[in-house]
Symmetry: C2
Subunit: 348 residues, 2 copies
């Protein structure tokens, strides 16, 4: 029936990921009192007495989310865990367990999967999580990895996307745009390799940005830091799709506006130099690059003194009332509306 | 690196699913005290005070687990939920939440995904579960569905695969082999359709077996029934890969043997007649067909009086000490060892 040419057809690319999930699940009802939070945040929240469980899942598809011509399988295993843990931390929770399912074609030998699982095991060790389940199956083409991560948080300590208030500070961890620029370098080297398989590129000037692409880390340390500093964010999200779309998520769900200062956006020197080399605007990269797996959160200005000396945290703007909108304040002191770049995977 | 021709290559088909999961995860350590049970049962078990959480995940791949030329998307959505709920019930737990992730190529219009989600929503309503999360992404080919199901069970009420004791009764719910024979009929009709697209087959003689293939149900009712009857199984598993491989799982994990009586295996009349039509042995189909989503459990003989009148439950054999092995006692009263048919998906 899928091939019926007469049926009404709406292209998925017209909706994008967020429109699609909203559209498909808008009629779904919540029936269990243990369901504290369903679809619409970094993770779902289930309530059990004084402890809440968060649960989140991600699907990584070969040819869409990763390219095995430059992604070692160990790193892929590691990264597939990290992207899920990042969602758990974005709820202000401690990650405790994961399940890992893979679909794999016969072109992969056992040794390839062993490499993948070494990466998974390494991430599990470093982040102190248990691998508690999974499923392996065959695929007709390529490799697919589905990870579900589970975390724990004391009841009422979880942080959603919808708690930001006007005048709250907008804070980002680490620096942005590096994973995207690492990908640009890897894509360029792939093209060079196609022309001359004997070329030995010197990638050392790009070591940081390539590592950010191939072996990202999740900000478990920030959850501990915020606890130690006694700062509870009013809203939080992890930066997977890019700063601009995450800012829009926080603003829309919290029903607030925002001013973000271009000059405050943290960039690593390697990102700046590589952007110059590729002739790309570094602010555009920081706003839209994605895969940073940093945390973006809002917090009360009253707590500013607790965070101001911390090198991991950068205040990049202020939340406003919804009516003023969401803007980037440029270095030239002009205001540009921040728009979602949308989710381009359906155009691949 | 995956294309390096010099690396050691072990074919995945040499291991099969169970060997593969065991092999890949054998070094994984459990670190959290909330992890009551990790890999190796129908679901993982996480402990929280007097309630345990079970969690299980399954990946369904187009061309491996389903064929859209005869699987309506509504049914596929429904079935993708059912196969996971079945694992939750096999732990003696109540299913409460699911997450659903899909990877889909641009060949699918929105309306196709709406159909898929209608099936998911229908299952969620009927089985009283909340859809709490998910992820949509693109795929380069075909459709892929990953479902994670979460359930709750009172601490110590969960039932594992490893609790069967010699002399326990081996009990199966419903009847077996129907989903497999339904698939044979659908495959045959697909071939007929290829030759003559205008043929209008009369499938009414196969209505039950086709429904078992396209729209299976999970035995939520049995969990309630066992509770009402005050029967706690000593071990339990759901029948997804086929009766013989599930019996082997229970026996190996419980370190027991088993006699299964061919004449006791419950078969629907439509299975028997269709097996005759296709010239296939119905016992072979019941043992190896799979996708029944019935429950297979063991229980103390002391409780036999509680279940003997129940039409949903059939005693098909007895557990023995491990040394005597695992056998089928045929209608001719000969004993044949039951062997795993293995998991053939890697040979697709």
């Amino acid at each position: 029936m899928i091939e019926d040419k007469n049926q009404q057809r709406t292209q998925l690319s017209d909706l994008g990921e967020f429109g699609l999930i909203d559209h498909l699940t808008k009629n779904f009802e919540i029936k269990h009192k243990s369901t504290v939070k369903g679809i619409g945040d970094d993770a779902a929240v289930l309530g059990f007495k004084n402890k809440n469980i968060v649960i989140t899942t991600d699907l990584l598809v070969e040819g869409v989310h990763f390219d095995l011509s430059y992604m070692p399988l160990k790193h892929l295993g590691y990264k597939s865990v990290i992207v899920n843990l990042s969602d758990v931390y974005a709820m202000n929770a401690e990650a405790t367990q994961i399940t890992v399912s893979i679909a794999v074609s016969n072109r992969f030998p056992l040794e390839a999967l062993e490499d993948l699982y070494v990466g998974i095991e390494t991430a599990a060790k470093i982040y102190n999580i248990d691998v508690v389940g999974g499923d392996t199956t065959s695929s007709t083409t390529g490799l697919l990895i589905s990870v579900t991560a589970i975390g724990e948080v004391k009841s009422n300590n979880e942080v959603y996307r919808d708690g930001a208030k006007p005048n709250d500070l907008l804070v980002v961890t680490g620096d942005l745009g590096a994973a995207y620029m690492g990908l640009q370098v890897l894509e360029r080297e792939k093209e060079v390799y196609k022309v001359n398989p004997n070329s030995q590129p010197d990638l050392s000037p790009y070591s940081y940005i390539i590592e950010r692409q191939l072996k990202p880390e999740a900000r478990k340390d920030i959850i501990k830091l915020l606890k130690d500093l006694e700062v509870k964010p009013s809203s939080m999200i992890d930066i997977s799709d890019g700063l601009s779309s995450e800012i829009i998520h926080l603003c829309k769900q919290s029903k607030v506006g925002c001013d973000v200062y271009e000059e405050k956006i943290p960039l690593d020197p390697q990102v700046i130099s590589t952007c110059e080399e590729f002739n790309i605007d570094s602010t555009t990269v920081a706003l839209n690059g994605g895969e940073d797996y940093e945390l973006l959160f809002t917090m009360s200005q009253d707590d500013y003194s607790k965070i101001k000396a911390n090198p991991n945290l950068t205040v990049i703007g202020y939340m406003k009332v919804a009516q003023v909108g969401i803007h980037l304040v440029t270095r030239a002191d002009t205001k540009i509306p921040i728009k979602a770049q949308g989710w381009k995977n359906f155009n691949v």
